[in-house]
Symmetry: C2
Subunit: 164 residues, 2 copies
């Protein structure tokens, strides 16, 4: 099995298509197509860097020097909410620690953010023995499974649900 880094040319074509469809997708989601949003989604699609809000801000300011950083933060979150973008760092709001040093992965409840350990030996097998990955030196891997826990799944789940 060869792990394949994503091709740059293909990404560019994909980005162009997504940008063309953006207005229609906004309409479907009930979002206004503002120049700021267009500039932000464009900057995001043209970047292969998985940028932070400040990087998008810097890029967009070239065209919209008066845009607010708050707008960039808000817009990126909005885009994620309507499924036009994805936050790579699901749990980025505060550091979470784990004392368990054995190989394992995590199931994260997208709502209450509880994390459960899970073992997937098959996955570890797929990766083990590989020392390299293109130009990258492999150090380890962690699968984050997004899920809804039993408490949050229930329609009238109460308490114990943090944030959101």
């Amino acid at each position: 099995m060869e792990l394949q880094l994503v091709n740059e040319g293909r990404r560019a074509g994909y980005a162009a298509r997504r940008l063309r469809e953006f207005a229609a997708r906004c309409a479907r989601a009930g979002l206004a197509v503002t120049p700021q949003r267009l500039a932000i989604i464009q900057a995001l699609l043209e970047s292969g860097e998985h940028p932070r809000a400040d990087a998008i801000y810097a890029q967009v300011r070239r065209v919209h020097p008066h845009i607010s950083l708050a707008t960039v933060h808000r817009t990126l979150e909005t885009l994620c909410e309507v499924g036009e973008a994805r936050k790579v760092t699901m749990l980025h709001d505060s550091a979470r620690y784990d004392g368990n040093l054995t190989p394992h992965h995590h199931v994260v409840c997208v709502k209450c953010r509880r994390i459960r350990d899970i073992e997937i030996p098959e996955l570890d097998k797929v990766l083990e023995g590989r020392s390299g990955l293109g130009k990258f030196t492999l150090l380890g891997a962690s699968l984050e499974i997004l899920a809804l826990c039993e408490r949050c799944k229930a329609p009238r789940a109460r308490a114990a649900n943090r944030r959101g």
Copy 2:
């Protein structure tokens, strides 16, 4: 293939053993065994919750009412550095966004924090079709591969390296 959530009883035994070995492991790592560190690693090992610093702080304060929150943050980071703990949220320091909605995973350079996309159809196949995971409802999954990129691998890599 059955994905297996980690068993609670096993975790407790593991935690007890790790705690017994803690002093010896500190000595090996050149760390002083302070009451604060002991309390923090104990709280971490006894929690199955992948806690935040503030949760550890609350727990430890029961025994050490004068401990500082800064000490908790510092100690948790130290424990990760010497391999006694693991930060679940590798990239938690700021949000990273991705405009690519196609199924893919990420290779993260642990040093400069660059992120590259990678496709692993085999992995997607392992997970697809599964609607449930014990009491959790599966929504998606993202593999984070920790690696060292070619720039950071080089002994005298300069520039372009952020943080660290």
